[in-house]
C-alpha cells in the first residue's frame, strides 16, 4: 500500500504548509473553554481576564444588522467582549493604531437584503495587526456564531419573512408588527446564544446509575476544564474533520483526484490514502489539543492509552462522516452545509454545549449512544471520574462501532465513485 502512504503523506504535508481554517478551528475549544470559565468558573478565577474590545461598524443600518452586536454583548459573551460602535473606518483605524481595539466587524450595506433574498450574506472582519490573540478570539467567536447561526437560520426565518412581507408591501410597519418581529428576533437570538443554557449548570453532578451525587468541578479550575474541555474538543474535531475533508473535495473538483487515479494505483489505495490523511491528521490535532489542555488548563492527563483508544475510535467516526459527506456532495458549499448541520445536531444530542448529565433521562440515553456524546463522556470518565480502560467498555464500544460502520460505509461509497 505504497500509494496509500504517498497520498496520505502528501495531504498531511499540505496541511502543515497551509493550515488555513484549521488553525481557527483549533482555537474554538480553547476560546470556548476560556469563555465558559469566565462565565461559570469565575468564583475560582483570581481576577477576570480583561475584555477583548471589538469595534462595530454598521453600514447596513437595518433591523438585522442592528441585531448582530448581541452576539458579543449577550449571554456569557458579555463578560468577555466589550463592544463599541464606530461611525466609520477612519475612526476604527485610529483606535487600531492606538491599540485600543482587537478587531473591527463591518456589516456591509446590503447585508439584510442579501439575507432576506436568501443570498450569501457576508460580514467583513478586520483584525488589528498589532494584537495577536484578541483578534483570534473574536474571529473564532464570529466563526462559531456563523456556524451555529447557519444551523439555526431556519429558526429566524419567520421574523425574516415578516420583514420581507413588509418590505415587499412597501409600507411602514405598525407598532404591533414591530413588536411581533422584535419578539421573533429575540426568540431566534436566544437560540443563537446556545451557551445561555449553561447558566443553569448545576455543580453537584448526578450520573445515571449512581445513587449519590458526585463532586463536580466545584471551584477547582482543573476539574472545571477536565469536565468542559472534552466536549469542546470533540465538537472542534468534528469541524476540523470537515475542514480536512473539504480539502479533498476541492482537490476532486479541481481534477486532482482524477489525475491521481490515472496513475498505476488502485482506487482503493487512493481512498485509503484519504482515510489515513484524515485519521492521522485528527489524531495529531487531538494530541495537540490534549497537550494544550494539560499545559494551559492544567487538566491532569491521566491514562493516555485510554484517551487514545477513545480518540482513535472517534477520529474514525469524524473522518468517515465527512468523507461520506464529500463523497455524496457536488460542491464544497453543499458539503459544508450538510456536514455542519449533522455536526450541530450531533452536538446538541451529545451534550457539547450543555453537559448531557444535565439532560432529562431520555435525552441522556440518546447522548450516550451518539458517537460524540459517548466519546465526550469517555474522556470525562477517564479525566474526572478516573475510570480505568475496562470500565469504559460500553461507551468505548459505542464510539468504535460508529467509527467502524461510518468509515466502512464511506470507503465503500467513495471507492464506488472512483471506479469507472
Amino acid at each position: 500500500m505504497r500509494a496509500t502512504f504517498i497520498v496520505a503523506a502528501h495531504q498531511l504535508r499540505r496541511v502543515v504548509r497551509n493550515p488555513g481554517l484549521i488553525l481557527l478551528l483549533l482555537a474554538i475549544p480553547l476560546t470556548l473553554a476560556v469563555m465558559e470559565y469566565g462565565a461559570f468558573g469565575r468564583s475560582a478565577a483570581e481576577g477576570k481576564l480583561p475584555p477583548v474590545k471589538v469595534l462595530f461598524l454598521d453600514e447596513d443600518d437595518t433591523v438585522v444588522s442592528g441585531f448582530l452586536p448581541q452576539v458579543f454583548s449577550g449571554g456569557p459573551a458579555k463578560d468577555f467582549f466589550e463592544l463599541a460602535q464606530v461611525p466609520d473606518k477612519q475612526e476604527a483605524a485610529r483606535l487600531f493604531t492606538r491599540n485600543q481595539a482587537a478587531a473591527l466587524i463591518v456589516v456591509p450595506r446590503g447585508f439584510q437584503d442579501a439575507l432576506l433574498a436568501n443570498r450569501p450574506a457576508e460580514l467583513v472582519f478586520y483584525r488589528n495587526p498589532i494584537q495577536s490573540i484578541g483578534p483570534d478570539i473574536v474571529a473564532s467567536m464570529l466563526q462559531m456564531t456563523t456556524l451555529i447561526g447557519n444551523g439555526l437560520y431556519a429558526k429566524a426565518l419567520e421574523p425574516i419573512r415578516q420583514v420581507k412581507a413588509l418590505l415587499d408591501a412597501g409600507r411602514d410597519p405598525t407598532s404591533a408588527e414591530v413588536a411581533a418581529i422584535s419578539q421573533g428576533f429575540f426568540e431566534a437570538g436566544r437560540r443563537l446564544q446556545g451557551l445561555d443554557a449553561l447558566t443553569n449548570l448545576r455543580i453537584g453532578v448526578q450520573r445515571p446509575g449512581d445513587t449519590q451525587a458526585r463532586t463536580g468541578f466545584g471551584s477547582d479550575p482543573a476539574q472545571f476544564f477536565a469536565y468542559v474541555f472534552p466536549g469542546l474538543v470533540v465538537f472542534a474535531l468534528m469541524f476540523i474533520a470537515q475542514a480536512l475533508a473539504i480539502r479533498l473535495l476541492r482537490d476532486r473538483l479541481k481534477g486532482l483526484q482524477r489525475r491521481i487515479v490515472m496513475t498505476p494505483v488502485s482506487p482503493l489505495a487512493v481512498v485509503l490514502g484519504g482515510v489515513t490523511y484524515l485519521v492521522v491528521g485528527l489524531l495529531v490535532l487531538l494530541v495537540f489539543l490534549g497537550v494544550i489542555g494539560g499545559l494551559v488548563f492544567r487538566i491532569p492527563l491521566r491514562d493516555p492509552l485510554s484517551l487514545l483508544a477513545i480518540g482513535l475510535g472517534f477520529a474514525l467516526f469524524a473522518a468517515g462522516l465527512h468523507l461520506l459527506s464529500i463523497s455524496l456532495s457536488k460542491s464544497d458549499r453543499s458539503a459544508g452545509f450538510v456536514g455542519s448541520v449533522v455536526v450541530l445536531v450531533l452536538s446538541l444530542l451529545g451534550g457539547t454545549f450543555v453537559p448531557a448529565e444535565q439532560y432529562p433521562p431520555f435525552l441522556q440515553r440518546v447522548a450516550a449512544i451518539v458517537p460524540n456524546g459517548a466519546a465526550q463522556q469517555g474522556f470525562i470518565d477517564v479525566l474526572v471520574h478516573k475510570m480505568p480502560l475496562v470500565g469504559l467498555g460500553p461507551g468505548l464500544g459505542v464510539v468504535w462501532a460508529w467509527g467502524i460502520v461510518t468509515m466502512a460505509l464511506a470507503v465503500f461509497v467513495e471507492r464506488r465513485r472512483l471506479r469507472a
Binding site: R14, L256, R258, T263, P264, A420
Partner: protein, 308 residues
C-alpha cells in the same frame, strides 16, 4: 501501441460514443480532431480507465484497460484537458508527487524530474510555487507531470487550449520530441491547423463517430477538389432543397432557414446561377467560398464548422 475497438458510451440518452475504433503505433502521433462535445475526452477517459465503456475494448501495449487497469496504467502518461496541479507546491514538488505515484523514487525520481523540467523549459522556476505561473507555464508543467516517467503511451487532451501562438508552438515541439522517443500518442484538438502541423494520422470525430481517418495527404484527397459555397440569409429550407437537388452539379450539405452549404466545382462560375436561384426563394445576406481544405472535408462530413 494503442488499440481501440468499437467503443460505445451512453450518458443517459446522450450517445457520447457510437463505435470508435483506431490504432496508434509507437512513435506515431494520432490526432483526434473534432468540435466540443464530439467525444474526445470520453475516448481519453476510457483509455485511461476512468470511464467504463458500454461496449468495445481498449488496450495499451496489448494490456486490456478494463481488465487490468493498474497494469495498463503503468505504461501510460496522461495530460488532462484542465490543468490539475497543486497550486501551493513548487513545480518540483508537484512532479515528485506524481513521480512517486508512478513508482519512481530516489535518484531515478530526481533524475526524471530534472530531465522533464529541462524539457519543458521550467528548470529555472522549479522551486517557485506554481500559483505564480503563467498559463503557458502551467500547461507545460501539466504536460511534464504526465510524461516524467517516460511512458510508452501518452494521451493528451487539448493541451494547448487558450494559449498564445508562441507557447502553442513550443508545446507542439515538445509533443514531437516525446513521439520521437518512441511513444504512441493520442492528441485531441479542435484546432485544425494544429492537427495539420502535428499529427501523423488524423481521425475526424463528431457526435461520437470517426467520420474520416487517414494521413493528412489522404484526408486532403478525400476532401476532393470541390469548393464549398456558404450562403447566409433567410431561406425556405424545404423549397431550396427541392430546387437545388434538381442541379446535379451542386451537392447540398446542409440547408436551414438561415444557412445553405453546398459543394461545387469551379465556384466562381456557378455563383451567379446559384445566387439567382436563392434570390427567388429568399434573401441572401452573405456569400462565402471556401477553397478545398481539411476544413472543407470537415464541413462536408458534419455540415458545420469546426469552431461552432
Amino acid at each position: 501501441m494503442i488499440e481501440v475497438v468499437n467503443l460505445y458510451k451512453k450518458y443517459g440518452v446522450n450517445e457520447a460514443l457510437r463505435g470508435i475504433s483506431f490504432r496508434v503505433q509507437p512513435g506515431e502521433i494520432y490526432g483526434l480532431l473534432g468540435p466540443n462535445g464530439a467525444g474526445k475526452s470520453t475516448t481519453i477517459g476510457i483509455l485511461c480507465g476512468l470511464v467504463r465503456p458500454d461496449a468495445g475494448q481498449a488496450s495499451l501495449n496489448g494490456i486490456d484497460i478494463a481488465r487490468q487497469p493498474v497494469e495498463a496504467r503503468r505504461v501510460l502518461g496522461v495530460v488532462p484537458q484542465d490543468v490539475a496541479l497543486y497550486s501551493e507546491f513548487s513545480a518540483r514538488d508537484n512532479l515528485a508527487f506524481f513521480g512517486r505515484l508512478y513508482g519512481l523514487r530516489g535518484a531515478a525520481l530526481t533524475g526524471a524530474i530534472d530531465r522533464v523540467l529541462a524539457r519543458v523549459n521550467l528548470a529555472d522556476r522549479a522551486k517557485e510555487p506554481v500559483e505564480g505561473f503563467s498559463g503557458g507555464m502551467l500547461r507545460r508543467l501539466n504536460i511534464a507531470a504526465g510524461v516524467l516517467h517516460n511512458p510508452s503511451v501518452v494521451l493528451m487532451d487539448e493541451p494547448t487550449v487558450g494559449l498564445d501562438p508562441q507557447t502553442r508552438a513550443s508545446i507542439l515541439d515538445l509533443v514531437r520530441a516525446i513521439a520521437a522517443g518512441g511513444a504512441a500518442i493520442v492528441y485531441t484538438t479542435h484546432y485544425l491547423d494544429e492537427a495539420e502541423r502535428l499529427c501523423d494520422r488524423l481521425g475526424i470525430i463528431d457526435h461520437g463517430v470517426i467520420l474520416a481517418e487517414g494521413t493528412l495527404q489522404e484526408l486532403r484527397e478525400a476532401a476532393g477538389a470541390r469548393e464549398i459555397i456558404a450562403l447566409r440569409g433567410i431561406f425556405r429550407a424545404d423549397a431550396v432543397t427541392l430546387e437545388i437537388e434538381k442541379h446535379t452539379e451542386w451537392e447540398l450539405i446542409k440547408a436551414t432557414d438561415s444557412e445553405l452549404l453546398l459543394t461545387v466545382q469551379h465556384a466562381e462560375q456557378q455563383l451567379a446561377a446559384l445566387l439567382a436561384l436563392a434570390a427567388t426563394l429568399g434573401t441572401v445576406r452573405e456569400v462565402a467560398i471556401r477553397q478545398p481544405s481539411l476544413e472543407n472535408l470537415f464541413i462536408k462530413l458534419t455540415g458545420r464548422e469546426l469552431r461552432e
